[in-house]
Amino acid sequence: MGIARYVGQRLVALLVVLTAVSFLVFVLQDLSPGGPELSILGISGQADPEAVAAVRAKYHLDEPLLVRYGYWLGDAVRLDFGRSTNTGEPVMTVVGARAPDSLRLALSAFAVVLLVGIPCGLLAAFRRGRLADRAITTTAIVFASAPPFAVAIVLIYLLGVRFPVLPPFGTGEGLLDTARHLVLPALALSTGGLALIVRQMRASALDVRSQDYVTFARSRGVSRSRILVRYLLRNTLVPVVTAGGLLLAGMVSGVVFVESVFGLPGLGSLLIDSITSKDLPVVQGLTLLTASVVVLGSLLVDLAALALDPRARMTGADQ
């Protein structure tokens, strides 16, 4: 019962966030100069006032801001996000065509972060002060400071050209080929997240390891692997899972750079193109999608934290 209400509240909050964000983005696009007529007609087309007027009338561009937002909102609640001013295709189709690439990339990067970051963080904690810890911590700092597109170019050069073991760009076809093409982009995208998770995991593991119940369990003769899994892992993961929520927001922006450098036609490059060509319906559609992903992702993360830590569940149910 408590959980259902909790989730319900969060979903209502999602709707509020979506409305606020969509309005904000709409206003920002309006404030920036120019409109889709420049992209549609080109500069010499601006000299033809009839053509410009025709485009502006087609997209209701001369009406007041609130009226235009009203049109958009009225359609959006019926899940009609309009058509792209660039291709004429429905926004859902355009976004849907490009979403799988971004999704695959984000999930791969996420997997790398978890599968590499968690063990490395634990390793650093247990080898604290030793070479392994120093190496891992320094690497994490380097990754945290290096921007994803810089890392991307270095990776392409080293592993795609200098020692050509992996394809330097593109998406590939077929399951195995696509996986090969995802390795470098996923690595480039994961660096920021890796840094975060490694550091978080290390701090969390050090904290838990020094707890009385762990010492007590060791002294009682509980087996090492059982301590690791039942005591350590579950308790160290709670702050890490919460940090994972931050990871999502960071990845959304990193995706844009990485997709551009690797020539992946995903949502990141779609966003850049539609903003520069002032393709308003697509920008609004992408904004909603991004906001939903971040909010729902945070919700999932919080539910996972609840699942891991019964103490949080109790306080949650009280609300």
């Binding site: 007609l41 009839e50 410009v52 690439d101 063990p119 073991v165 998406t171 090492r224 036609p265 060509s277």
Partner: protein, 545 residues
């Protein structure tokens, strides 16, 4: 009873953790090894001139293969063909049309006989008429329709003849039709509706290639076995999405892409450094120039304008901004644009005879001293960003050159939409820095756009507000006469007046670089800047070995 002290717990715990970490590293290694299989793709050599596979890079992601849609994907012209191709020097090469004849009131197109679409159906005059109409319709093709404004009605005179009636005499319409209309299959387009050109309804055309796969990152085309013309050497063409030029260079170095069309002079130099790459340099159709507003201070004073013109260090700016890849412009038109109405020799002679403002700071100082602002003045220039990198270099150079004369040039960096907005608002124009892409080799387009009272208003591009009444007659002749001699004289009069009055300061025409990977070359002598958009490029690629 003593409890036996247990073994120290540190080692086993570490061992377990280490084990987990090692397992993770091992997994990565295995994945890496799996990835190791098959490195870069090398194009295998085969007999004769046949090229089994060829990959060309594209900066824009692929929206539509329908060229009436804005931001349509390149490659449409390999599938659906134009009626004719116009080279940058004005020569017309018939493609689907056997002949195109331009007259004062109409353009008559004769369709080549015996041509079929790739699905076997014959091409008829109905398809051609439909293609022209939909390209000239502002509702369906806003960008193309702006170029085809003089198209009135399109009639099928017989099975192979189409007559386009014009609303006014337009000598440039022939070029515009050739450059903007691709012949589509009427029944298929009508059936597909809005979806035509998208992956769910890829174009069916008469061209040398058919669409094989159409994804958002890649378009693959295979040779059309029933193509009416000479079959190109390349069996499979792949357009691949690659927006980042650094990645593209790395990709070419490793053989992943075979051709890149480079339109910025500064970039050509960087591409020359890619291992094994061959660079063919083609003339471009872009014109770089400055405009000076002749109706407002300080540039209303001809001495001030001359001072500016004499203070531009064209050669060095070309070297720095374009890597030396650009020819200096002698007038407000390029030599080939003037040649299309005057002939090559006369065009060259005329342009050479124009008063050339070569870089001469002393003469510039003299001009300023003789002007109404002998002690100098200050002004702000809005500079557009991005591809017009030469603009930043030019303005910084000019800023330095003008300082000793007491002229203070301030640079206002704008985004491209902001820059366009202030140009179309047409107020406080002062000095503007232009790169104008004039793909139409006819000089009428450039000259009527930048000279004359019709475009010296809001929305117009005559940013010098240069509209001497004496030139209106020549502008009208240029825009509506079909007599080359008349048009040549008119063009010369206009270009001469602009040079005399220094309303526009011509800079350079930057080159285009066509970069091919190791093992391929691009035919520099037969190549033309229009090749990329009209599909002729496939015929100009060949193996080196």
């Amino acid at each position: 009873m003593h409890a036996t002290p247990t073994r120290p717990t540190r080692r086993p715990l570490r061992r377990t953790v280490r084990g987990t970490a090692q397992a993770a590293c091992l997994t990565l290694a295995v994945l890496g090894l799996a990835a190791c299989q098959g490195g870069g793709d090398a194009t295998p050599a085969t007999e004769g001139g046949t090229i089994p596979e060829f990959t060309i890079a594209s900066i824009a992601a692929f929206g539509s293969l329908d060229n009436t849609k804005p931001n349509a994907a390149s490659g449409a012209s390999l599938v659906t063909e134009p009626l004719a191709r116009i080279k940058h020097d004005g020569t017309l090469e018939p493609v689907l049309a056997e002949s195109i004849e331009a007259k004062a009131d109409s353009v008559v197109v004769r369709l080549r006989e015996g041509v079929t679409f790739s699905d076997g159906d014959p091409v008829t005059s109905e398809d051609v008429a439909f293609s022209i109409e939909r390209s000239a319709d502002p509702a369906s093709a806003p960008a193309l329709a702006a170029q085809l404004g003089s198209v009135g009605s399109v009639e099928r005179t017989d099975e192979t003849t189409i007559t386009v009636k014009t609303t006014r005499p337009d000598p440039t319409l022939l070029n515009s039709l050739a450059q903007n209309v691709l012949v589509v299959k009427k029944s298929y387009v009508e059936k597909s509706g809005e979806e035509y050109g998208s992956p769910s309804a890829p174009p069916i055309g008469t061209g040398p290639y058919e669409v094989d796969t159409f994804g958002s990152s890649k378009i693959e085309m295979v040779r059309n076995a029933d193509y009416w013309g000479e079959a190109p050497d390349i069996e499979k063409v792949t357009y691949t999405f690659l927006p980042d030029s650094d990645t593209a260079r790395l990709a070419m170095g490793s053989g992943e892409i075979d051709l890149q069309w480079v339109i910025t002079g500064a970039e050509i130099k960087r591409w020359q450094q890619v291992g094994g790459a061959n660079v063919a340099v083609l003339p471009s159709t872009n014109l770089s120039f400055l405009s000076l507003d002749v109706t407002a201070p300080p540039f209303e004073d001809p001495h001030v304008r001359q001072a500016i013109a004499l203070d531009v260090d064209r050669e060095n700016v070309n070297e720095v901004a374009n890597g030396g890849f650009g020819t200096q412009l002698q007038g407000l038109v390029s030599p080939n644009q003037l040649a299309s109405v005057c002939g090559q020799q006369e065009a060259e002679d005329f342009l050479a005879s124009l008063p050339q403002a070569s870089f001469d700071p002393d003469a510039a100082a003299d001009e300023l001293a003789a002007s109404s602002h002998p002690d100098g003045f200050s002004f702000t220039v809005p500079a557009p960003p991005q591809d017009q990198s030469y603009a930043q270099t030019l303005l910084l150079s000019l800023q330095e050159e003008l300082k000793p004369m007491g002229v203070d040039l301030k640079i206002d960096p704008l985004s491209y939409p902001e820059w366009v907005q202030q140009v179309t608002a047409h107020e406080d124009l002062g000095m503007q820095v232009w790169t104008y892409g004039s793909s139409n080799p006819d000089p009428a387009q450039v000259l009527t756009m930048f000279v004359g009272k019709a475009t010296a208003t809001a929305g117009g591009l005559n940013t010098a507000n240069y509209a001497p009444p004496a030139l209106e007659k020549s502008l009208a002749v240029l825009a509506s006469s079909f007599d080359d001699e008349e048009r040549c004289a008119a063009a010369q009069e206009i270009v001469g007046a602009v040079a005399e009055d220094a309303a526009y300061v011509p800079l350079f025409a930057p080159n285009i670089g066509v970069v091919t990977s190791d093992g391929f070359t691009y035919d520099e002598s037969a190549g033309d800047p229009s090749d990329y958009s009209n599909g002729a490029w496939v015929h100009h690629v060949s193996r080196t070995s």
